[in-house]
Amino acid sequence: MTSVAKADVITVPAGHERSAWTNWPLHSVTAFLFLFLAIFFLVPLLSVITTAFMQKGSNTFTLLNFYDFFQNDLFRRSLQNSLYASFMAVVCASLFAIPLAYITTRFEFKGAVLIQTLGVLPLIMPPFAGAIAMQLLFGRTGTVNLLLDDWFGINIPFMEGLNGVILVQSVHYFPFILLNLVASLRNIDRSMEEAAQNLGCRGLRLFRRIIFPLAMPGYIAGASLVFIKVFDDLATPLLLNVQDMLAPQAYLRITSMGIADPMGYVIAVVLIVFSVASLWASTLVTKGKDYSTVQRGGGGLAKRQMTTFDTIIAYAIVLFILTLVLAPHVGLLLLSFATVWSFAPLPDGYTIEHYRVVFSESSQLITNTLLYATIAGLIGVTVGTAIAYLSQRTKAVGRRTLDYIAMAPLAVPGVVLGIGYLRTFYNIQLPSGTSLAAFWVMLGIALGIRRLPYAMRACSAALQQVSVSLEEAAENVGVGKPKAIRRIVVPLMAGGIVAGFVTSFATAAVELSATMMLVQSTENAPLSYGLYVFMQSPAGRGPGAALGVIAVIIVGVCAYLSHVYLERRNSAQPH
């Protein structure tokens, strides 16, 4: 009883905690972040949405634009095509991913390293880079069909119209499903399966009733990601000359009719609606189904030894998928060294001329890319770290809202953000006389905003690993808040920050949705845009492919260096 009485006596003196309203440094940081996100994300986004609902040339509200959209055959078909291609890409990607995930998690399989390597491919090469190479390999007069025609007299339309988009996208994006599915299969505690066996369950029923439901959240997460990526992608359909899809239509409309035409904005809104809807649907389906924390052990399913027959089958599957996945990479490499390559299974001859052309005439593209990607990465990690800190460690007013806003670019396609920037900043003149929307810094900022959700997630996860007491200990010995953050918190978060920076940098380096909307002159163009322009003409394919190879090398080197850095860091830390 005495101890209780004692506890009652201890009261918190008034004003002990600095009131949230008088903490000016905190507020100025919060206000600055709000301002930044408002100018470079919310205003452009809202301008797109409001324009879609406004009568052309006036400011009156109307739904007529949407009526026109659905009356137009081309737009209706584009919407259908986009939905169809996205859905089929998810189906095809699942066909690649599920057997691979099953093989790695279910069997003792030596080729598992190969499968893991597949996981990084979409990071190091965007689908549009390999699209032309895929055409040369799988197109009507491509390598595969030429051979098929020689041997069997048949021709398979792999790359005709939407088929091409579906094939290229699913080959590039299936690792998103693979990685998520493998992770959730690995998270299944082995005893989940054993308990079912112990009660008499096995085989397909075991899979259907226990394993599949437990792995489903991971699969859905990956599948919805693939769906959105394909739905929003602009450059791949354009390079494959498929124009009747939604994102290409938005681009073509704005570039041909000008930024005053409302239909481009309507398409942008439709893109947002479907992106948000598919994200929402995936969270709805997986709601309350994050089982990884409920299960205790983890360690994945019981692995079986493979018989020789199993091993042969497994290698056959893995090698088949690997060949398909590497086809665009190999094709791109061949193309970059080819003298002439058409109507032949392989190029006629080889040369390094294309690389010389790229380096002598277009080295500006490479430096631009490095510059923009660096800006994007820095914006991603600084804004990401700041918001992560505010929402996890402070009581700043509006920190939750900031967090939501920073995650929102996930659901905003690049082409929409690009249109928004044009709409918002086009009429603002710089002292030099050019439009603010054409100013190269804006491209870096737009890319930074697009990468922000991913960078912030990495920073946020890193911050969660840093115990609050480490920061408190620094303050306890008399170090002020800003210095404690700079000297203690940020260094301890370095692993996550570097990871966030590198993935932002790498993906920004090969982005081509917002970029295509915002690049006004070739001297400001990054590598991905140059690649796109080169690829438009048959003569430019060689240099274009060389640029693509350079892009893959830049991104690959970044990914490798950060991997090495993180490995070294992890092994240096005591466990």
Binding site: D189, S191, M192, E194, A195, A196, Q197, N198, L199, G200, C201, R202, R205, R209, I210, P213, L214, K289, Y291, V294, Q295, R296, G297, A302
Partner: protein, 366 residues
């Protein structure tokens, strides 16, 4: 609870006979020639430190490991060649392994569905099993909405519902709070007695095994060291490992010496005790429990058959019902427990005392 509902879950108890079982993983020999006879309806424990092979043996019975040699006969049927789903043994996992995507009710009914029972019988048995563990009201909850103790009872109910021939419990108390453990182990024992189910309980905690089990197999490094009732093991350990594992103990170094055909054990301090004729000469240890020794004044007379050691008091801990003295006997540390029964002279640090132990209470081990 109505007796009728118990009948639905009851079946005749069977015996388990484990013979010549060897399990190896590559070069690692996890179980070495294990032989055990477990009687029908017995509550039997596999006790040992982590890595001793107790869980390996349990999982072997359930079918999740493979043995290189031997047989495990349950109720007259060798189960080793059978797949886990054909063995009809109920296992409760250490992690409980409740399926998070199913409700409590679905979890419990799962095994019954697999057995293609009629809907009526399924409902009846699932209800009975949940009633047996006192969770009949929580059928609609998801496992994540339950406390650790409730989850464990669901896991028990799920296993009991299929009416297995034997019940295997893999460290069932290890994930529970200390305050819950005593109650839960009593509940498990009461349930086992009502069902009369042959049960194997795996644990590393000797107190758990002692309090609930009829007999215990103490294991170490893949070998069954000794089988017996808790009291037999405590009082007559077969070797130093069993003796130490079952409770606190003192050991003193010494040597067995030949004296003609006789054998004696001589402590490092010079004291000599008679030893069995079958012992071969060499270093050995004297073993006794702290409560079996007495403290006497150093000049008090000693009966001839007792061992007497001179020691200095180095520590004294008052434990309420007893006082534990830390003593230095020569170079070695021992401690003895003296019951505290009211006002009595007690020794202080640095006192020189005599420790007296009846020869019937000491053992000599290699």
């Amino acid at each position: 609870m109505a007796e009728s509902s118990l009948d639905a879950l009851k079946r005749e108890a069977v015996e388990i006979s484990i013979s010549n079982v060897n399990v190896s993983y590559g070069a690692y020999h996890a179980l070495k020639n294990v032989n055990l006879e477990i009687k029908p309806g017995e509550f039997f424990a596999f006790l040992g430190p982590s890595g001793c092979g107790k869980t390996t043996l349990l999982r072997l019975i359930a079918g999740f490991n493979t043995a290189q040699t031997g047989s495990i006969v349950i109720g007259g049927r060798n189960v080793l060649p059978l797949a886990p789903w054909k063995r009809d043994v109920g296992m409760v996992f250490q992690s409980y392994a409740l399926w998070p995507h199913m409700t409590v009710w679905k979890n419990v009914a799962f095994g019954l569905e697999e057995r293609r029972l009629s809907a009526e019988e399924r409902t009846q048995r699932a209800e009975d099993a949940l009633k047996l563990v006192g969770l009949e009201k929580l059928g609609n909850r998801k496992p994540s909405q339950l406390s650790g103790g409730q989850q464990q009872r669901v896991a028990l109910a799920r296993t009991i519902a299929v009416r297995p021939s034997v019940l295997l419990l893999d460290e069932p108390l290890s994930n529970l709070d200390a305050s819950l453990r005593v109650q839960v182990r009593r509940d498990i024992l009461a349930m086992q007695r009502r069902l009369g189910l042959t049960t194997i309980f795996v644990t590393h905690d000797q107190e758990e095994a002692n309090t609930v089990c009829d007999r215990i197999a103490v294991m170490n490094e893949g070998v069954v060291q000794q089988v017996g009732t808790p009291m037999e093991l405590y009082d007559n350990p077969a070797n130093l490992f069993v003796g130490r594992f079952l409770g606190t103990a003192n050991t003193l170094s010494g040597e067995i010496r030949a004296n003609g055909s006789e054998r004696v054990f001589q402590l490092a301090g010079g004291e000599i005790l008679p030893a069995s004729k079958h012992e071969t000469p060499g270093p050995a240890k004297l073993f006794f429990r702290p409560q079996n020794a007495n403290l006497v004044a150093k000049n008090e007379a000693v009966s001839g058959s007792d061992l007497r050691l001179m020691a200095r008091v180095s520590r004294r801990e008052f434990l309420g019902s007893s006082i534990r003295y830390g003593l230095k006997a020569g170079e070695e540390d021992i401690f003895i427990d003296v019951p505290h029964v009211g006002k009595r002279n007690d020794c202080l640090a640095d006192d020189i005392v005599a420790v007296q132990i009846s020869l019937s209470d000491v053992s000599i081990f290699r």
